[in-house]
Symmetry: C2
Subunit: 256 residues, 2 copies
């Protein structure tokens, strides 16, 4: 059955969506079947895979709030082997709508249980907050992958995030583990990147992925064409790095 | 009485905190008295001004949840003329705590009314979401300043954000106007930046600040020293740009 990975970090703009899309695409290029769940009301992962707003009639919002069958919300993408449950702007109201109901933290977990046997991996893109949408994602996930931008503020939030994952583990999901911390937007021209990278490796050791994602403008251009970077520019440094990350993840799970 | 400006954008990592700190410092260097309010549970603005976690005993959390007098929460910073109301990690629970109470959207507005006559400007740093903390900020503000990162995903969220500001204006704060959209992390080496900049200027015209903030590593280094960039490296491109932004804002208000 599928490994379910929540891509999470409450710090904004650290590469959660970029990692969800490009790691998902890399896994499909390594022969895996992947479902991407867009749990961010901004819907950047849906946009980055060319799912226009008009096509988001049935979204994760419906699955979470009125129990729509997740099969009805699953759509194909332009990437072979990659399907998506898109987001919807109404998702920002979902926290208020389901916030007081029973079972509010396990809606996503129950929905994904019905389709987990059809995929090798399910990747969940989370919003920049530790609210109900992220809690649902951590409850549903077997592991949490933390993209870490190589900058000062991003480092500050890391210890709080790891505490939150531990809390989710002890209160709602005992199986939850940290998949790893992934360094991204690494710029070898500036010493801030190497300082942050050294700091993280010193404190977290083996929990840090060996693959480091460089800052690479092709990665930032790809979503405007609705494509993962390895389809937009397969030879660029960004594409190579995310393919290597996919390989490293598969090796960790002995599934390569 | 003070002009109250909410620095807001639900997209994460677009430079809200960086703009709040550096614009606040620039305004003090132009001779103004400024209060910075950190409404983000991450507390990056507090950290970026060297307010350690130990010094956040009384924070905006207390003001919003149990009516602590805002005067008790105000502290000096290392920048002359700049005071701060720090954040606290408990602020992430404030949405749940005050979410069902009467007057929940105007707590900040009422608190700031008591001190507005002591300052020329009050700048509010918002979290990357359109929840109760941002709504409180829009209710309290006379205007909203929108930092816009010159990248594709950041552009996508802009129309939603402008709608939200209009909604806040019609439902809770008729005086609220858009101060302007400020382009930041502009990298003249890549065409993505100029494409986004042209697109925004075409659609929003005069609402776009003339000053463009370049991508400049000194800006990203400064918070690790607890300083605004104009104190960390006064001659760098980042410092010059934020000083120019301060001047442009003052000119708009005929207060230079
Ligand atoms: N390695 C990289 N090199 C260059 N640009 C990158 C890289 N990774 C991400 N970006 C760009 O940085 C910006 C932030 O990334 P992204 O939107 O994926 O972060 P996020 O954590 O999902 O943000 P949010 O908190 O708003 O959900 C985007 O414009 C993206 O294109
Ligand atoms: N003009 C710039 N040049 C270089 N780096 C910048 C610039 N502006 C901001 N940064 C860096 O980019 C990152 C994101 O900026 P910042 O944290 O201010 O954004 P934010 O919108 O407040 O994020 P959040 O959504 O998490 O609150 C930070 O590491 C910051 O130092
Ligand atoms: Mg995202
Ligand atoms: Mg911030």
């Amino acid at each position: 059955t599928a490994r379910i990975i929540a891509i999470v970090n409450q710090k904004g703009g650290v590469g959660k969506t970029t990692t969800t899309i490009n790691l998902a695409a890399a896994l499909t290029l390594h022969g895996k079947k992947v479902l991407l769940v867009d749990m961010d009301p901004q819907g950047n992962a849906s946009t980055g895979l060319a799912i226009s707003r008009k096509l988001r009639g049935i979204s994760i919002y419906d699955v979470l709030t009125d129990g729509t069958d997740i099969d009805e919300a699953i759509q194909p993408t332009g990437v072979e082997g990659l399907q998506i449950v898109p987001s919807h702007i109404d998702l920002s109201a979902a926290e208020l709508e389901i916030g007081q109901q029973a079972g509010r933290t396990t809606r996503l977990k129950e929905a994904l249980a019905k389709v987990a046997d059809k995929y090798d991996y399910i990747l969940i893109d989370c919003p920049p907050a530790l609210g109900l949408l992220t809690v649902n994602s951590l409850a549903a996930a077997s592991s949490a992958l933390v993209p870490l931008q190589c900058e000062f503020y991003a480092l500050e939030g890391l210890s709080q995030l790891l505490k939150t994952v531990e809390m989710a583990k002890s209160s709602i999901n005992p199986k939850l583990v940290i998949e790893g911390v992934m360094l991204t937007m690494y710029d070898k021209r500036n010493r801030l990147s190497s300082q942050v990278a050294e700091d993280v490796k010193k404190h977290l050791g083996r929990a840090v992925f060996k693959t480091i994602i460089p800052r690479n403008v092709r990665i930032a251009e790809a979503p405007s064409f609705g494509q993962p970077v390895m389809l937009y520019d397969p030879q660029c440094a960004g594409a190579t790095a995310y393919m290597a990350l996919g390989k490293e993840l598969l090796n960790r799970h002995n599934r390569s």
